[in-house]
Amino acid sequence: MSSVATFHIDHEQLLDADGRPTAALPAFAQDASELLHLYRLMTLCRLFDAKAINLQRTGRLGTYAPCTGHEATHVGVGAAMRPEDALFPVYREYGTQLWRGVTLTEILTYWNGDERGTHFAGPRQDFPWCVPIASQMPQAAGAAMAFKLRGEARCAVAYIGDGGTSQGAFYEALNMAGAHALPVVFIIVNNGWAISVPVAEQTAAQTLAQKAIAAGIPGVQVDGNDVIGVRAVVERALARARSGGGATVVEALTYRLSDHTTADDATRYRPAGELEAAWQREPLLRLRRYLQAQGQWDEAQEADLRADCSAQIEAAVVAYTSLPAPVSDDMFTHLFAHPPAELAQQQATARRYAGSGR
């Protein structure tokens, strides 16, 4: 018998857990201001997460999906994208969204069950949060198909979790992206847990990146706690997609340092010691260590940054809590360009009762 196909999967890491470079850093990382920009947004994400959880615990926010632990992946991907690209998030990639202009107020509004939060004032072409698992993947492939047909040098970037890679829609999207050489990058955020299912029970594959191979597209793994590595890998994948080279799957290895959502309690299923070990590899610490070693960061700057982030968050919470209640017309105006007569009648009825509490 002869071998007709083999595969290999590369793993990229540029900054190790102690903040030491493991290879020559790319050009953007030579510029301290670029790295500080990444670090500031990662810190904002971390502090915002804590505030959002506190808002939920005091009845001022609905169920919330925290992002703590994922900051390097999320911010690294955001930094690698161009404004004209389109993002197809899952539901916790705030670092990418904030980089692209989604606001903290919009995030809070959405998680309080108010769809006005998905009406982004900034990145109009970005898709909203996607709670159904994997349905964003074919949508991203479709958007990439549109970019290709129009001859636009734009890319779609879709997120999915480790659990989502078991869904049929995941494979369908990869197949379409491979068959048509579409300008799309799929980011698998492998944080070890699909709610309570560990990745070892999710798949028998050694890596999730290799799921790309069957679709005929390259898959690469990156240390998802290394923001420099994530940005470098995703920039390469996007450059390739933009120049007609087709799709890439990037598996970012990270860890969910929080519960799945505020309605979850991970202590009920997470093995003892795993969380503590993961905190030793967390993304903010290693970038801070690197910046300190480079003489670019100190305690005073850290304190200033936290105060500045807190002020931003405070302003966002005030804006969110003072948002006026939606009007009844909102139920109707986003459905039809020309509402049918029955709907118009219902709209009039709703207006008559709006505000009466009945």
């Binding site: 502090l47 506190n54 615990r57």
Partner: protein, 389 residues
């Protein structure tokens, strides 16, 4: 004053139990400072402070169950208290609205506000029910938004009207010194719930017999021998080492035998689980039994040690009692009870002898286990127990 009502701490949770307060009356607190640990049906949750100010009142003691929307903490958020808190704040946000109107309407049950409605407001189904039950809507204060009367409100009012006077529920004069009503909490409450579940669902059938342990060599460990015997029984009849899912009418048979052992604690019944009893040595079983019993008594066992048993053992005979009808807790389908060992007069051939015997009671869920399966398991248990070692 600002009142903080208990919000829904998960998704659609009706209540939570106070585990411990982190603050006391008179404390000055900052926004987001931890106030109290609350246990819900899903998790133990730290609840932070929504206000900066001085604690005026804490509504409840550890162990109390608080309904979602009921008062939890009152604050003085006056300027002096607020400033004092501000200087010590590690909090992120300095000013937050202090009114409970900021709570989602569904989580608020405001019983203090005066009704200002000129007309009684009730949902149509509540009006209809009130008419049929003869309840005067005007006499009710609705629990809904702006005093809206719900079906539940009408039912509650009707129950007050129709039930015998409350005094009839109390002991009459000679027994007047009977204690206060002690609301079940924690483990005892969980026991009440799982026993009700068992009563409502399981078709229980109990079969009893004795194991003659006259041949036992000295040094045999009762619990370890019982666990080994259960393993032997389950190997003979794997169908009882299983869960029954009534919804799908399916039985899930396990390859590993994880035995839940009923442990009597002052707080109520606890059932720690010994994993894979079929593949452990007697010494290993004893070590694990000791660890679980100690952990059960001081309540230090993690949830992972208290769930997913595939078979149960109640070794009640160490205290008293020969036979019983032990209760199967779903989704498990069988429980073995071991009674008090005693010296019995037995027939040995044509002679009379005195042997030590262990009474056994096996309860099984007859919905999915046949009597034949149950007694074959019991026979295998007895055969193993009767071995000298």
């Amino acid at each position: 004053m600002a009142r903080f009502n208990l919000p829904d701490l998960g998704e659609g949770l009706q209540e939570a139990e106070i585990i411990r307060w982190h603050v006391a009356i008179g404390d000055v607190v900052a926004i987001d400072q931890p106030l109290v640990a609350m246990e819900t049906a899903k998790a133990v949750v730290e609840v932070p402070s929504p206000h900066a100010g001085t604690i005026l009142a804490l509504h409840g003691q550890p162990g109390d169950t608080i309904a979602t929307g009921a008062a939890l903490v009152d604050f003085d958020t006056g300027p002096v208290a607020g400033n004092a808190a501000g200087t010590s704040a590690g909090g992120v946000v300095g000013h937050m609205p202090t009114s409970d109107a900021e709570l989602p309407a569904a989580a608020v049950r405001d019983n203090s506000s005066e009704a200002t409605h000129t007309r009684t407001r009730a949902v149509p189904a509540a009006r209809d029910l009130a008419r049929r039950l003869g309840v005067d809507l005007a006499s009710l204060r609705g629990s809904g938004r702006d005093g809206l009367i719900s079906v539940d409100d009408v039912m509650a009012a009707a129950a007050v009207t129709l039930q015998p006077p409350a005094s009839a529920m109390r002991p009459s004069a000679p027994y007047g010194e009977a204690g206060e009503l002690d609301v079940l909490r924690s483990l005892r409450r969980a026991m009440a719930q799982s026993m009700s579940l068992a009563r409502d669902n399981v078709m229980e059938c109990t079969v009893v017999d004795d194991a003659d342990i006259h041949a036992w060599e000295s040094g045999n460990d009762y619990t370890a021998r019982l666990l080994r015997a259960i393993a032997a029984g389950c190997r003979a009849e794997p169908g009882l080492n299983a869960w029954y899912d009534a919804n799908s009418q399916g039985r899930r048979i396990f390859h590993h035998i994880d035995v839940g052992i009923a442990v009597d604690t002052p707080d109520g019944l606890l059932v720690p689980v010994i994993r894979d009893v079929g593949n452990r040595t007697p010494d290993a079983l004893r070590t694990e039994i000791n660890r679980l019993k100690a952990g059960a008594r001081d309540r230090s066992l993690p949830p992972a040690d208290l769930r997913d048993f595939t078979f149960m053992l109640s070794n009640f005979g160490v205290m008293a009692g020969r036979y019983a009808t032990p209760v199967v807790v779903p989704p498990a389908i069988a429980i073995l009870g071991a009674g008090k060992v005693s010296r019995d007069v037995v027939a040995v051939g044509d002679d009379i002898a005195i042997h030590r015997r262990m009474p056994l009671s096996l309860t099984f869920d007859h919905r999915c286990v046949t009597g034949g399966e149950a007694v074959r398991l019991l026979a295998a248990v007895i055969a193993d127990l009767e071995l000298p070692n």
